[in-house]
Amino acid sequence: MSFLSLIIKNPFRNKSRALLAIIGIGIGIATIIALGAITEGMISSADDTLRAGGSDFTVSGKVEGESSQMVGFGTSSFDDDYVDKLANVSGVDRAVPIYMTLLMTKNSPYFAVIGMNPSDYKIAELTITDGRMYKDGTDEIVLGKIAADNEEKEVGDTILLDDKEFDIVGIYESGNSYQDQGGFTSLDNSQKLSDDEGKVSTIYIKVDKDADVETVEKRIDDEYGDNLTTISSLSDLDMVKNMIDMLNGASLAISILAVVIGAVGIINTMLTSVYERTRELGVLKAVGWSDGKILLMIIGESIVITIVAGIIGSIAGIIGVELIVLSNIMPLLTPIYTVNIFVQAFSIALFVGIIGGIYPALKAVKLPPTEALRYE
């Protein structure tokens, strides 16, 4: 039998004790995985929404103080005459006005109504899977696939949004869960729903083929920076940034907690195991095992426990997140499991294993062999 298989076998001599240690560490790992996947999902879906397909960056109203009217991702609406102004900025190919508002429907707590001129639909990269695009000056709407499922609607049905009836003329898929849980209609309709005529919430900017995105962005910042803010990436958005900072903070706090609780648990588990095996350790010394080998074995056993906890915790974390998704507690949540999350979780598991194993291993090494063999 290889040394490695001995190390893998040993922790499971006392199955219930190993299981307890695994559960203790596994809970921490599961939480780290779940928070990580949720954070990554938020970053990416917010990014998708901001980027909206073919645009290079977006322009939003400056949020003046905390109490400003919040639209969509924490930006305030602003006058639509900026659309023409921005279109005239040198280097701008197109400036596409968007009016986004979140409503509540019978079946969904968040329903994004996105107002856009139908001619601009290419920039939103919508794929109409059923029916057709809406027309301007009508009460037509196209629904995202998820929204259509949630509301149990199909092409030809009507939908009531804020007491106003809309005709569903098409179903689309955008691959962006935020958009797929809402609908697109004309700019006019969307503004009216919020009693906010003549305003837009976002302008998607597409720059000229040969123009440099950053230069154009800077021109807009320089000229309209007092009232508008350009957003080329998620981190430009304070609200999203704060939320992600908060999630990352929680993730860090839980990681630290998991390390501390996990290490205490594993130290306790391994110490008990070392005491129980005192005579056996005496034998290992008597047959010539070096201190280094005994150290390696005990730390190895500790790592085996934490790695198993890492595997089980990861699976539990994924199951937990998927249950949240299924239960619809967080309707806009699309978790993303990046390799990085798992690397982080397993690094923590490994770290806890080493930290937790060192002290018991040193205890085992320091044990005088004669005392170990006399131990009752």
Partner: protein, 241 residues
């Protein structure tokens, strides 16, 4: 026993002392002892007389306070790599078998081989050979917990032989067995000693066992009182009991 002057000295102990509990217990109180290679020596004496302490010194499980001790070419007071000495030169058999319960009989016998850099395949091969020698080849793949006391002790003997030791140190190897099983274990040890020419040192408090040896060494209060005259020892013990 002075059979053959060609024998070389495998154990050389001079005025060895060891005390415990801040000097209050003098476990070894000036022991001098020579043992020739290939000898079978028994160490006898009442409980607490220092037999195990002496055996532990021979196997470098413990370090003396003073005196000198050389075993199989190693100066055990100077040497730092005592674990290498134990792994290469010594095979221990304890009163309790001390087998690891969660691994197979065969794997238990492999335990000392981890210090020798063998492949798992070679370890298993060697282990099966040894189990064959002690008559337990057919039990190789079961757990030691399923074995009888005598069988477990035979596994422990196979384990002691794993690295071809120069000396087998057995501390009351039959102490927890009935007399019939005891005899078979002793027979096994003596046969191995004869066949493999391995030096055998057995600690016992049973005169019948001690008498099987080439030489009897009696220990009392941490001292050797008579290393030659078996009859005298026997009388002494009778008087004491």
């Amino acid at each position: 026993m002075n059979s053959g002057d060609v024998m070389s000295r495998i154990v050389e102990i001079r005025d060895l002392k060891k005390s415990y509990e801040d000097g209050n217990i003098k476990a070894l109180n000036g022991i001098s002892l020579d043992i020739e290679e290939g000898e079978f020596v028994s160490i006898i004496g009442p409980s607490g007389s220092g037999k195990s302490t002496l055996l532990n010194m021979l196997g470098a499980l413990d370090i003396a306070d003073s005196g000198s001790i050389r075993v199989a070419g190693y100066d055990l007071k100077e040497n730092k790599k005592l674990n290498v000495f134990r792994g290469d030169k010594i095979g221990f058999v304890f009163q309790l078998h001390n087998l690891i319960p969660n691994i197979s009989v065969c794997e238990n016998v492999e335990i000392p081989m981890y210090t020798q850099g063998l492949s798992s395949k070679d370890m298993r091969k060697r282990s099966l050979e040894l189990l064959d020698e002690v008559g337990l080849k057919d039990k190789a793949d079961i757990r030691p917990t399923k074995l009888s006391g005598g069988e477990r002790q035979r596994v422990a003997i196979a384990r002691a032989l794993a690295n071809n030791p120069s000396i087998i140190l057995a501390d009351e190897p039959t102490g927890s067995l009935d007399s019939k099983t005891s005899n078979r274990i002793l027979e096994l040890l003596i046969n191995l000693h004869k066949e493999e020419k391995v030096t055998l040192i057995v600690v016992t408090h049973d005169m019948e066992v001690a008498k099987l040896a080439d030489r009897i060494i009696e220990v009392l209060d941490g001292k050797i009182i008579n290393a030659e005259d078996g009859t005298l020892l026997e009388n002494k013990i009778r008087v004491e009991n």
